[in-house]
């Protein structure tokens, strides 16, 4: 789970880098969506589960779709991607210069140190109580994990078998 926390934070920064250095709005929109999702994960990790859900629903589901699609509508027909020269240059400059300055500044002049401080824990890559329950599913709860996975596989095959036939997608009577 600690790796999970680290992943949320890393993905947030990574996709935000993608937003800022995108050569074309298509990729910018993609990284904005993924970055906002990772940001919601970061929010969950510091204890703001409700705020994270609200962010996910309202921000991603509402504003982002409308704003991003209308921004993408005015894009160019041949968009420049991240693999091109300019994309790489933008990304390197952004990571080394801007983010490097922020990290060094926090290290030298910051007061709190690295890591989260939540209501019941603190430190780098902490996992709070409700989130850590997911990891128990893989350890002590391995039997029910297998059975639940088997049940889902069974549901897939049952549904496919029931709707197999002429009119796919309905429980056919012929």
């Amino acid at each position: 789970m600690m790796y999970f926390m680290f992943l949320f934070g890393f993905c947030f920064v990574f996709w935000m880098v993608g937003v800022s250095c995108n050569p074309s709005p298509y990729y910018g929109v993609l990284s904005l969506i993924l970055g906002a999702a990772s940001g919601c994960g970061v929010l969950v990790s510091v204890g703001g589960s409700f705020v994270s859900l609200v962010l996910f629903l309202i921000y991603l589901g509402g504003m982002l779709v409308i704003f991003a699609y209308s921004a993408a509508l005015v894009a160019e027909p041949y968009p420049i991607g991240w693999g091109s020269l300019w994309g790489v240059v933008y990304m390197v400059v952004y990571v080394l210069v801007i983010i490097g300055l922020v990290v060094i500044g926090h290290w030298l002049w910051g007061t709190e140190g690295f890591g989260h401080i939540t209501v019941d824990a603190g430190g780098l890559c902490v996992v709070r109580l409700d989130f850590s329950g997911v990891s128990w599913f893989y350890y002590l709860g391995n039997v029910i994990f297998l059975i639940a996975g088997w049940g889902l596989l069974l549901t897939l095959f049952v549904v496919l078998e029931l709707v197999r036939g002429l009119s796919r997608g309905v429980l056919r009577a012929i």
Binding site: I144, G151, L154, F157, V158, E161, L162, G165, L171
Partner: protein, 346 residues
Amino acid sequence: MNPHASMIITLSLIMGPLITISSNHWILAWTGLEISTLAITPLIAKQHHPRAIEATIKYFLTQATASTLILSSSIINAWTLGQWDITQMSNNTSCAILTTALAIKLGLAPFHFWLPEVLQGTSTTTALILTTWQKLAPLSLLVMTTQSLNTPLLLLLGLMSTLVGGWGGLNQPQLRKIMAFSSIAHLGWMITIITFSPKLMLLTFYTYITMTTAMFLMIKLLETNKISMMMTSWTKLPTLNTIMILILMSLAGLPPLTGFMPKWLILQELTKQHMFIIATMMALLSLLSLFFYLRISYCATITLPPNSTNYLQQWRHKTNQKPYLAPMATLSITLLPITPTLLTLL
């Protein structure tokens, strides 16, 4: 059916009730019930005619409702008591909801309406699985929670089931519907005795499985589904026809056959608990079931339809064997003398 799908569905059908039986936690028990419901749904709909699809939908909706009620009762119990153990279900509301849910799952009256229609809409083999294997999981949950169950409610359900099982089967010409009502009546007997003696309930259940399996295998072997067809189907298997009347009388509970054993022991246990009126009513209501078992045996074995005098056995164009019929029929006829042995086995 696709072989991979068929393998997964058959494996889940076997594993579902086994998961429920071996569970201590309500969530695992519920998971096993759901797996068994899901796994048998495409088997009911295997022939894909409208009646089978209707039977599938009826089965799925009733079983899903019952599973939801089981989940709700276990959550209420966990909310008030803080633990999910199946054997320690002290909350009375939870027990009442659980009893209702398991009655829906088993097809006890007044929740029995789905059983005859589902059994009629599907093939004989699937009807056999529905009446025997699928009853295993709910009855095991009842056995596990028997010390906290509400006896008057169970007695009411049992008495109503015996009445409905006997009364409803009187006007049925279709064999699978008759077996459905027979199942309802037998489950009524089982439910009546469960809080007094779970051992007797298990004995009733095992003998019921033996007799029902023997009857269904006989129906499948004769390839008949209606009483009218049974009048002329004895020519397919003249020797087994005489066994069939014995299986039917065993289902009815007549001595000296096996079916008498559970009824006798249940009536004795009810009398010991001073439940005289209930015992008398159960015995009288089984007479209704006896009537339709007698009618089947009358049409199949005792009388001949109007035809010429010398009857010949039918030509056998294909060999049609059911290997399990022999031990099941033998057990369902001859187990009464070893009743003390069977009681100690449980």
